[in-house]
Amino acid sequence: MAARGLFKRRLGPLDYSRRWSLQLVFLASLVFLYVPILTLIAFSFNDSRRNIVWRGFTLKYYEKALGNSSLMEAFANSLTIALISTVISVILGAMVAILLWRFRFPGKAPLEGAMSLPIVIPEICMGVAMLAFFARIGWPTDLPWPLNLGAITIAHISFSFPFAAMVIRARLANFNRELEEAAKDLGASEWQTFRDILIPYMKPGLLAGGLLAFTLSLDDFVITFFTSGPDTVTFPVKVYSMVRFSVTPEVNAASTVLIVVTILLTTIAMWMQGRSEK
């Protein structure tokens, strides 16, 4: 008994993380969450169309995806929309964040409530609302690129900027207002205080909010599905039509590229947030 105690410390009543039953559940959940994604990535390199048996490493499906002009066009559309949407979402989000942080005004609570609506309402409802809106106001559908992406971009900004505002506001909550007062006491104007004190302080929040907006835009399928036309297909919408058609290694390759892009961006965002907290 003593020897056993030497090798295995007895489980304390609260050592839940060392109980095999909980370890098993956790491990099984990881398998459940990761195996589909990892097999998808692995089989994008598989030299077989049937997608089931491993027949050796190949990059030919990446070449095929790169050579697929409609897929590449969709990818370019997605990136363009995400970039424009991110810039405008961060600007609008920062305005909301400063407004709610700095001012007391009548109608503040309803405004806050309305700003959280795009976050909580079901995506499908927002999608059909956007579809009806652009049809009703007669939004032109025959504009040259990139103006034809306007409707999708507007819809993306509408659901992204409240998220950006939330992130930026969280950063502002810790701001020491005395810094601002000190700057003003020393004669800085409203604009100088904003540019030299507030903006540098908000920077990590702006970056985090921007990356969130970018990922949200790049990932969105449902709302884009209702605002895109035959000439304005985004990457997820294109993948959707390919998936409905069949399961091919080409889709795996395209998906892997998007997964890598998203994970890279998320890692950069977290790294920057971590650095700003030091």
Binding site: G93, A129, E190, D219, V243, R244, L258
Partner: protein, 306 residues
């Protein structure tokens, strides 16, 4: 915080752009379909707003009522399964060594950052007839048959003549598996937040005083984590109820949910007023669930204060 009157120019400068954007590009679209929901279809694309309630009444037809019930059922089972799987995960992470906790939590959240469409597609590849699950099962079947052959029982055909792949895709089970797969992080995060805040000495006290693990869990942990549990239940239930992609790609013809019906009204059936009415019913349900959450949160914080 200062009154807006002290710097009216700054106030309007940062107030107007986002407020106008929200009104024109969000509230106006929502109002348009609200008005449409009281309209009647006229011709192919025309909508005549007559303030009729017919669209809402039609939503209670047995056909659509069944789809609503089914959606509630799917979302309910999903939420329940997420709770049952998510609770042990949250406990495991909470009681892990402090330096491991962020990593373990990240492992659960990371899949959430990959595209929903891609995750759903990945599940198709795993679940289909010639997919990896059936492939693994077939491997086991062959091995088991090999053992039977070795034992001289092969002529009995105990496991059937040939391997029968399971039909895992394009049915209701596939939809529920997909919904759990997508929504699990929604449940784990609030549960973890609640358990992390909890004073662990209550658990020690309960165990010291002779209550077993099960009794401690139900009599101490669950009541203390109540706010987190309710939060998790509701923020899992709401997006699950409004799911479009999962039933669309993984479900069969009889596993349509509300969102799929709404999509059909707008994209193929071309009955916008009815689709708009269904959208608003879905939104009212969402707001109702959020109100319950807010009420419960107020209730628990009042209890803590007392």
């Amino acid at each position: 915080m200062e009154s807006w009157r002290r710097h009216p120019l700054v106030f309007w400068l940062i107030n107007l752009p986002p407020t106008l954007w929200l009104v024109v590009f969000f509230l106006l679209p929502l109002s348009i379909i609200w008005v449409f929901s009281f309209g009647e279809k006229e011709g192919v694309i025309g909508i005549n707003v007559t303030w009729t309630l017919a669209n809402y009444v039609r939503a209670f037809d047995p056909l659509y009522l069944e789809i609503f019930t089914k959606s509630f059922w799917f979302a309910g089972i999903t939420t329940f399964l997420c709770l049952v799987i998510g609770f042990p995960i949250a406990i495991f992470i909470t009681f892990s060594p402090a330096r491991w906790r962020p990593v373990l939590l990240l492992l659960i959240i990371l899949p959430f950052w990959t595209n929903l469409l891609i995750r759903t597609y990945a599940l198709i590849a795993v679940l289909r007839m010639r997919g990896y699950v059936n492939f693994t099962l077939e491997w086991f079947w062959e091995k088991a048959n090999g053992v039977l052959l070795f034992l001289g029982l092969d002529n009995v055909a105990l496991l059937g003549e040939r391997f029968q792949p399971l039909e895992l895709l394009y049915n209701n089970t596939a939809v529920v598996i997909g919904l759990v797969y997508v929504h699990l992080p929604f449940m784990v995060l609030p549960l973890y937040a609640a358990l992390d805040r909890m004073d662990k000495s209550y658990l020690e006290a309960s165990l010291d005083l002779g209550a077993g693990q099960f009794r401690t869990f139900f009599a101490v942990t669950v009541p203390l984590a109540k706010a987190g549990i309710i939060s998790g239940l509701i923020i899992t239930f709401i997006p699950a109820l409004g799911s479009f992609l999962t039933p669309d790609l993984l479900g069969g013809t009889d596993s349509q949910m509300i969102a799929n019906v709404i999509e059909r009204q707008f994209k193929s059936a071309n009955d916008w007023p009815f689709g708009a009415a269904l959208s608003y019913l879905l939104m009212y349900i969402t707001f109702f669930a959020l109100a319950i959450r807010a009420l419960m949160a107020r209730g628990t914080s009042a209890m803590e204060a007392a």
